[in-house]
Symmetry: C2
Subunit: 220 residues, 2 copies
């Protein structure tokens, strides 16, 4: 067991060179490319992607260079080809089953989020221990008792577990998810999860986001 | 007007060298230091901070070097002194007034979050346009009609605005916040906000977090 990686670091389990910042920018480039596709634009330059993404064209070219050769010098990138390659790189050519554990405000927000299914992330079930929560439907997604989680993971095809429980329950839930074969966890609980090698954890810590702002206010 | 910066980039308005990743790690180091403080530990090495934070001791020393000289060679850092310095660097020696615009699931989760007040972030009010939401109390925080936002910003001391509205309302709300003197925005809406130079925007985009996981699954 090792401590799970924290944000904005390289995923050292799976790839040695590609940072989370690069992956995040690839997601952003894909969004811009899809806007261009929707408007019928055929080609785009690294300068345009850089401007939209708030970065430099050198960074755009570097981000893409990890994954092979793209574009023609002086002609830019084909919008549709690059979008297709990015969807492939980001693993968006398939769909993912998601479970959300903890159906409080944050968990419910994840279940009810409108944009995930469009990207291929399908929330199959939510889990809670609160009697008032269990049995409810969140936009067609059933809230089940957390006791069912392990059994359900054996029966259903789930790729990603979202932990939105109180901090003291998070490690136990992470272990159940790992036990059930889950290899990717999105963690909202403000604790460092210990997971075996090979399990990816992305932490979303809203206190850290606020502190980035207080840092900015302090150091402006 | 310019497009707001996206995540995991440097805050180029306010500081040229210090990346968001560094700021995030400083927040994490502070958490570890506070755990050590609570346990009465007096000194800590860069190696220990590195191990806890999933990074290298060279990175720890580099992160801290932006802000002056810390620690004594061979003796490590004084836990209490470094914690105090980090609270200062991160702007946590004072409190911040926060408003949350959009009192849906995500906005409510922000209002009800237990950890923010402990860090000095006080949610003063929430805003919505929905008749069912307006007038409710969320853990003592009143949900007001969004029409009141501009007037309230003139009267109350608010530092940080959280945007948790539907995407189509986000830019308008950002402009109201800026008009009301807000210099720091936490944005959950999946749109790039255009804000004037000098206004910080941190985007939290949960689709991007899921895509970081699908990337990891695809490229494991």
């Amino acid at each position: 067991m090792r401590l799970a990686r924290l944000d904005c670091e390289t995923f050292h389990n799976t790839m040695s060179k590609v940072s989370e910042s690069t992956v995040r920018r690839l997601s952003l480039y894909l969004r811009f490319l899809e806007e261009f596709e929707a408007h019928g634009t055929q080609t785009v330059s690294s300068e345009t992607l850089a401007r939209l993404g708030g970065t430099t064209s050198a960074q755009v070219r570097k981000d893409l260079s990890f994954f092979g050769s793209f574009g023609k010098r002086g002609l830019g990138y084909s919008v549709s080809e690059l979008a297709e390659r990015l969807r492939d790189i980001l693993g968006l050519q398939r769909s993912y089953g998601v479970v959300v554990v903890g159906a409080g405000k944050m968990g419910s927000a994840m279940v009810l989020h409108g944009g995930f299914a469009r990207r291929g992330f399908f929330v199959k079930a939510a889990y809670d221990v609160d009697e008032h929560a269990v049995g409810r439907q969140l936009n067609g997604v059933e809230v089940r008792h957390a006791d069912q989680l392990e059994r359900d993971l054996e029966r259903e095809s789930i790729d990603i577990g979202v932990i939105a429980t109180p901090p003291e329950a998070a490690q136990r839930i992470a272990e159940q998810l790992v036990q059930g074969g889950i290899k990717a966890i999105l963690n909202f609980a403000p604790v460092r999860l210990a997971v075996p090698e090979g399990v990816l954890v992305k932490d979303v810590n809203l206190s850290l986001e606020l502190e980035a702002l207080s840092y900015g206010i302090r150091n402006r």
